[in-house]
Amino acid sequence: MSIDTQLFKGKMILLAPIDHEKDPQVESHWTHDLTLMRALSRQPAIPLSIAQMKKRYEAIEKEVDESKRLFYFTIRGKDDNRLLGFVRIEGIEWTHGTCSLKLAIGDPVERRKGYGSEALELIMHFAFSELNLYRLSAVVGEDNPAGLRFFIRHGFVEEVRRRKSILRDGQAWDLIHLGLLRDEWLAMNGETRHE
């Protein structure tokens, strides 16, 4: 990789800004899939209206601008610019070079096509080679095996297993913290350090 690398361009997808006109309707639809909402957070899963989504996007951009601890990108099809999902680097602690990562492909029909993998590869490169972070964290419930496989396939390792910290469908599940260090990522990519 060199300095002329386009950080937000993949082969099939792009990382791109929010489209305040078009995106709220699409994402409002996704939020009615509570499986997705459950995978993204331990807050009670609730669907969001288009108006609520609009407000949420405003809040996200405000936070990106003011907190300096959040990066938020939509994931879009390279050919038609359609909204596929989002990825966010949140809770950045600049002093320690740490953060956590969330990624979603909204429509189940668009999953298992490599869009998420491409977005993750772009965001790992962005996090380690542009933000110069030391590590990435991801938190995934035991009730989301596809999410766990996704991060592990890309080099994340299980670091913490918070026993029975989720209660869903009448059953207790572990909450799993995964981590990827910059050196591990560099080794996977055969890149050498220039520092």
């Binding site: 602690e93 002093t95 030391y134 913490v160 297993r161 026993r163 029975k164 869903r168 909450l175």
Partner: protein, 190 residues
Amino acid sequence: MNDLLRGEMVHLTADNPDVMAVQLFRWNQDTEWFRFLDTDPPRLFSEKKVKEFQEKELEKESSNELFFHIHTLEDDSLIGFVGLFDLFKHHGDSLVAIALGERDYWGKGYGTDAMKIMLRYAFYELNLRKVGLIVFEYNSRAIRSYEKIGFIPEGRIRGAILREGRRWDWLFMGLLREEWMGNQASRIGV
């Protein structure tokens, strides 16, 4: 069981913002204490500013946080705080945090006693199923006391802290309600 907030050495209270502010203003200048507590760099805020922060807490109607103040039974000194954060009532899960700002009370059982009251409150009043905690690798005194109370190691976030030129882990520990109840039973010889 009617004195839920009272232990053998300490009791837990809610105090007005100015009471805690006076103490926090002093404690915040102790960087060893602060580095046990927080990953943020310590800042030296004025007493006025600390008071403002405490008053702001009043306005927060937070449902995912619940903190109490720790007073000694012997002379009612305010020596620290303990509480729940990242509290998810619908999952029955929370993290607990404890800090003794008064150094003279370290290593003498006051913190352990306060933690025991907090756990009893979490499991028997809030009916939580699980209480976890995060402790930094360099805080060995705290790690030992949590182990003694019955917390079980659940893993480590590698190198999440960079201080004094080296990387340190965050340790997660956890205690399930049934484990805690089992410990209570064995202590009274049931």
